[in-house]
Subunit: 158 residues, 2 copies
């Protein structure tokens, strides 16, 4: 997976968190996922289906990070991982992939977006089933960390 | 969601568990999901994207059920929720939706299948983000229970 493909996801995630929650996020060095670490407490999962590639994407938040982001999005103090938080994670997942889709379309990649699912559960693990490496994008905010797991299978060989 | 749409998933799940694991599963009364109960220990999640409908499907297994199914599939004694089990859940998820897709195509529904993700974590909850009711299909086997969560948004109005 090259930077041309990865950067739209980084740009879109930073934009969405800034726009929705007025929180600055910065992205550290992308790395290949080994094992199933980086499991968060709340995760949005979505698929992007295109003729050139299939993408399986997860955005996984620590509890402090997503409580701060959701509180800021809604302008009220959210203290537990409830439906409101799950809906916020679903919305963030939609917006990050929607923004990435637009940026990728400028580079010639076309995708249909599925609807996300949100997983809530302490320290769950995510195992993508696309037969391709998973790139982890680590984001830091003043409120806590979150991670994007990006697994993309190129179909160019078809 | 009518029975014509639900039955292919029931038929396909029973076929897959029988064929892959030589285990008989029976399906109880479908019900609308309330709250986020029915969270399992291992879950396969997949999206089906079609012009007539979008589907978000989860198959969630209790630990005893999936250990028995995986052990039977592989002909060896699997005792912990490891990568082997996760891969088996991914394969089952692919096969159940693949079979359902074929059966639904005979009724005029066409779908593209995304790639599944597998979630491992004790008592995690799944919150589908499609704005439609979630139907729970409860399956019983001699080895334990599993559930299919089926959320389908009809696009007929478009």
């Amino acid at each position: 997976m090259n930077n041309e493909f990865i950067n739209p996801f980084i740009e879109s995630a930073i934009n969405v968190i800034k726009t929705m929650a007025q929180i600055d996020a910065t992205c550290g060095q992308p790395a290949i996922k080994t094992g199933h670490m980086a499991g968060g407490d709340v995760t949005g999962i979505i698929s992007m289906i295109g003729e050139q590639a299939h993408v399986s994407l997860a955005i996984t938040f620590s509890e402090p990070a997503i409580l701060a982001i959701t509180s800021s999005m809604l302008g009220e103090n959210i203290e537990i991982l409830d439906d409101t938080v799950a809906d916020a994670v679903g919305e963030i997942t939609n917006m990050v992939t929607g923004g990435s889709k637009r940026l990728l379309s400028e580079k010639g990649y076309k995708f249909d977006l599925a609807s996300p699912s949100v997983i809530v559960g302490e320290n769950h693990m995510i195992i993508h089933q696309l037969k391709a490496p998973v790139v982890i994008l680590p984001f830091t905010t003043g409120a806590g960390d979150f991670f994007i797991e990006l697994c993309s299978l190129s179909l160019d060989a078809d």
